[in-house]
Amino acid sequence: MYEVPDAPGTSSPGGSPDGTEISIAINNVGKIFQSDNKETIALDGVDLSIKRHEFVAIVGPSGCGKSTLMRLIAGLTFPTSGSVAVDHVVVDQAITNLGIVFQKPVLLEWRNVLNNVLLQVEMRGLNPKDFEDRAHELLRSVGLSDFANSYPYELSGGMQQRAGIVRALIHDPPLLMMDEPFGALDALTREQMRIDLEELWLATKKTVLFITHSIDEAVLLADRVVVMSPRPGKIETIIDINLERPRGLAARKYPEFEKAVDRITEIFLAKGVLHGGRNRAKPV
């Protein structure tokens, strides 16, 4: 890891040193989307609390409401019933002490990589000059140092996504939300990004909410995996993952990994999210 200078003037808000204080509290949340003459229940009776510095992964199929859940926490949409609180404050507007990474890189095509990263601080009314060193170091840490002046269209998908991640980190937010951040990447890039993300998390200990389709990815990254099922979107179970860190590439070999993956797979089989073939290797 590189020495990344601290973000100037952005002290992370309060926080207890013992790492147990609840950072996010989701209380019996329901979310209904209304379109012309149809109601879609996106989330139903969701309870979840996420501790400070915790890495939580949410895994589930498309349409299980996991992105909606993330947007509820970020204050980008609001629950139909129940409540969401971040640091004991009920979320009733977009919260700003976070960084978001989307499945798409969401870079502005008229800005080069550096200026895309600095957009984050400009929009917050901070002086981008103060963040330039930090931006360069972060870009270096994700292997983009030679591309600071490149435009998004000159980069590959993986590189664009890395730039998007740096943008989410530049202001050193205490909370990082990632909505299928590696979903559009090829398998190898994806593996590397996962390893890098774990390293980054170990170094910074941010609270991370990581949304994914991939069971492996969720188990390899998270302290806890939240398993969701669709129609209506709800939490099936929450699984603690006690694998040692850093997990890196080796963790796939551990029985704990397999056990967790199997448990999640079983849930998805039981819920009809996955359909087991006749010749499946393991009885469930």
Binding site: L76, G99, S156
Partner: protein
């Protein structure tokens, strides 16, 4: 950082190469025109075409060179009508597009009116403008304005509205003000669409000016066209049409040039060679 779009040199184009390309293009353009005029000249002489039907380029030039000052004075009249009407159209359409894009109620109330105004054949109401505003500058500007207005407003609205949800969510998560979001995201994002409208409008504006002059005027290229036509001075009709075309071309390419330097980052402005693939 830089709010104004980056300078074109920031893009990995080789400028010398681009210029060489452009010069080559200009040369081909010139050659094809020289050939066209040569064929025209020869054909007129070979088939002995009457000059009031189709004058030879040499005759057109001869007539024009005797009266170029007069034509130029009138060119200036038409050009200023185009420019003033066009600029007013920009000044009105772009802010209006912002309003419509930001306020859904504005869209429901104003948009149908805009569409209705577009459906009314504006050229047909040009005579009304004469009754209302007389023979001077005003009715011409008004017609140029009306014809340029619609394409700019429609494409600008599309530009301001076509922002994807994630970009807006990202912006909201920074707690930025609407003004900040407009300045840093919405406006630059809309620029390519706005320029599309500006180019369509530029092409329409010279037509509008000439039609307005047809209806009633005592100067301008449209007036000259009618007069020379009435006197069956066909070589001068041709000369006027050519001058008019040049005015239209200059206006269009001026807009395109401004587009090139304001949004060098957009797909439409990139040369293919500047893209390189890195597959990971």
């Amino acid at each position: 950082m830089s709010d104004n779009p980056q300078s074109p040199t920031a893009l990995p184009n080789k400028p010398s190469q681009a210029w060489a390309q452009r010069l080559k293009g200009a040369r081909q353009f010139l050659i094809s025109f020289v050939i066209l005029f040569l064929v025209w000249e020869l054909a007129v002489h070979a088939f002995d075409v009457k000059s009031y039907l189709l004058p030879a380029p040499s005759l057109i030039w001869q007539e024009f060179s005797g009266r170029w000052r007069y034509v130029l004075d009138n060119t200036w009249v038409t050009t200023s009508e185009i420019l003033v009407g066009y600029l007013i159209a920009i000044a009105v359409s772009v802010p209006l597009a912002v309003f419509v894009a930001y306020f859904p109620t504005m869209e429901r109330t104003i948009y149908p009116i805009i569409v209705f105004l577009q459906i009314v054949p504006k050229i047909a109401i040009a005579p009304l403008f004469i009754i209302w505003f007389g023979f001077g500058f005003t009715p011409k500007i008004l017609l140029v304005f009306l014809l340029s207005f619609f394409p700019i407003v429609v494409s600008s609205i599309a530009g301001f509205k076509s922002i994807d949800e994630e970009t807006m969510e990202l912006a909201k998560s920074t707690g930025a003000s609407s003004w900040m979001i407009f300045r840093k995201i919405r406006l630059p994002h809309a620029m390519p669409a706005i320029f599309t409208g500006l180019k369509v409008a530029a092409a329409l504006s010279s037509t509008a000016a000439v039609v307005a002059e047809f209806v009633a005027s005592d100067k301008g290229l449209g007036y000259l066209l009618l007069r020379y036509n009435g006197d069956i001075e066909t070589p001068m009709v041709f000369a006027t049409i050519m001058v008019l075309s040049i005015v239209g071309l200059v206006v269009y390419y001026a807009v395109e040039y401004i587009e090139k330097i304001s949004i060098p980052w957009h797909v439409s402005q990139r040369s293919d060679t500047s893209r390189f693939d890195v597959s990971s």
